[in-house]
């Protein structure tokens, strides 16, 4: 089994753009290649995907028809994370020395409106107005707040931090700070979450170049290793989007399971992580994911967040580029953005959002429909 290095990272800014989703992906791929100091023709295998912007291998005529083994990945909200896992496994197996991971997307405005049948659900479920991802997140945090004493103010602080961090992230979408009171008093979308507490579907592209140890050393890019990468789908008893019914006996979430697996692979624990990117589809998700990933006990978030622990400069900085709240969520690219941000942080290139103290280990976790999570741990 070979070690796997991240030798290049590139991104197309998230937000709303004239450019097609595909072209944003190609932009990110070229940026990643340039960052790694390699040519497209050097890439031996590629994994890529988008949720709503077409097949990733449509990038081939633009990048160059080199005959490369390119595999389209389609795996819901874990499309980017799954492309990364695939490339990780390919390099780790020893079969390849250099791989491209690509994710991009471009969604229509407003909430996602999947067809019930595509998720194996009856039509009435959508007709009655119950098939909305926003309702799931609101229901999950509503119950969590009641059980664990999380306040609305803490929900607001998560969003306030996101926009404050994004001011310093050139790839973020919403880069103006928003005052806590404005967040709390904004239009309610799904109680208890206001419009500033939800991320929006958006556009963007992100790409990574992975390499074997020999190739990484040859490129002089053997600083950042992929220490652990794992994905898990839902098990019985977990609370997921689009669930007309739930088991009374509750079970672990996909994030809990993916976190455990990734920590085990890395031989590290939550306390070893220096910078965290946790899926923040809405403010509550960031709060709940802090505990699900093992960074605190359930309920401890209230004090941690109020005390500023998750801010840049705090002991567990979370979502240093503003996360999904400030970047929006182009599904195919979102998980790769998290890893891109950790690469930037580990290299010390974060500028105004740089985590102090030369962070050595970065943790990222993506979550999404229909109930899956992927965790990546990268480190020096």
């Amino acid at each position: 089994m070979s070690e796997v290095f991240i030798v290049g990272a590139g991104i197309h800014p998230f937000g709303r753009h004239e450019l097609s989703g595909l072209d944003q992906g190609v932009f990110a791929a070229r940026a990643a290649l340039a960052d790694a100091g390699v040519e497209w023709r050097d890439v031996q295998c590629a994994f890529g995907g988008s949720f709503a912007a077409g097949d990733a291998d449509a990038a081939l005529p633009r990048l160059g028809l080199t005959g490369v083994q390119f595999i389209n990945v389609a795996n819901g909200c874990a499309t980017g994370g799954s492309a990364l896992l695939s490339a990780y496994w390919a390099i780790k197996s020893g079969e390849f020395d250099l791989a491209l991971v690509l994710g991009f997307d471009k969604h229509p405005r407003g909430s996602f409106n999947p067809a019930p049948a595509d998720m194996g659900l009856p039509d009435w479920y959508g007709e009655l107005g119950m098939m909305l991802t926003t309702q799931f997140f609101a229901n999950k945090i509503q119950r969590y707040m009641a059980l664990y004493g999380i306040s609305r103010r803490t929900l607001g602080l998560v969003a306030e931090k996101a926009f404050a961090n994004a001011v310093h992230a050139p790839h973020a979408w919403r880069r103006a700070p928003v005052a806590l009171d404005d967040i709390l008093n904004a239009q309610m979308v799904n109680d208890p979450l206001t419009k500033f507490m939800f991320c929006s579907p958006s556009e963007g592209g992100a790409a990574l170049i992975l390499a074997s140890p020999a190739r990484a050393r040859q490129l002089g890019r053997d600083q950042i290793r992929l220490r652990g990468a794992a994905m898990r789908t839902r098990v019985k008893g977990s609370f997921e989007v689009f669930s007309p019914s739930l088991d009374i006996e509750r079970g672990p979430s996909p994030a809990e399971m993916a976190a455990k697996a990734a920590f085990q692979m890395a031989g590290l624990g939550p306390k070893d992580m220096n910078v965290l990117q946790l899926q923040d589809t809405e403010s509550g998700a960031e709060i709940m994911h802090m505990a699900e990933n093992g960074f605190c006990e359930h309920g401890a978030q209230e004090k941690l967040i109020q005390s500023g622990a998750t801010r840049i400069g705090g002991p567990m900085p979370v979502n240093t580029d503003g996360g999904c709240l400030a970047c929006g969520e182009p599904i195919g690219a979102s998980g790769l953005r998290q890893v891109y941000e950790n690469v930037i942080q580990l290299r010390g290139q974060g500028g105004g959002r740089q985590v102090p103290g030369n962070p050595g280990i970065g943790y990222s976790q993506v979550y999404g429909a229909p109930g899956l999570a992927a965790v990546t741990i990268i480190g020096k």
């Binding site: 407003g110 409106n113 009435w124 959508g126 007309p244 739930l246």
Partner: protein, 136 residues
């Protein structure tokens, strides 16, 4: 008034009941009763009309159509509560909710009701299930 979908709920002499499915192997209860190929693995079960509030939210914007099939347009849209009700010993079901003047909280007593929902493609009035807070 007809149900928005067959096999979703039934009327009994004691009032309406949601129709769930009990898996023949293992005995787990699910809602709704699975249809199509999966149906063979479940026996239909009438679920309790009483439950306890498990979580809730309010849908403040009109969902996109499709799939949403409410009669009203953007302007006529009225926010509705939606969440989960635990039917003790059976299963937790997702439902539209009515609280009236009652303050929602975990564990609140809720009761099943059948109410008008929309008009079908043929113009006929269709009904759906909701859970209403006791006393609301």
């Amino acid at each position: 008034m007809r149900a928005i979908a067959p096999d979703l709920f039934i009327e009994t002499p004691e009032g309406p009941r949601l129709l769930g499915g009990r898996r023949r192997e293992g005995g787990d209860v699910v809602f709704p009763l699975p249809q199509g190929g999966e149906r063979a693995f479940y026996e239909p079960v009438e679920l309790s009309p009483h439950g306890l509030l498990w979580s809730w939210t309010v849908q403040r914007f009109r969902p996109k159509s499709p799939p949403y099939a409410g009669d009203e347009d953007e302007r006529g849209f009225q926010p509705y509560a939606v969440g989960y009700v635990e039917l003790p010993g059976e299963v937790i079901v997702e439902s539209r909710l009515e609280f009236g003047e009652v303050e929602p909280r975990l564990g609140l007593s809720m009761r099943l009701e059948i109410v008008p929902f929309n008009h079908g493609a043929d113009g006929d009035l269709q009904s759906c299930y909701i859970f209403r807070a006791e006393g609301a």
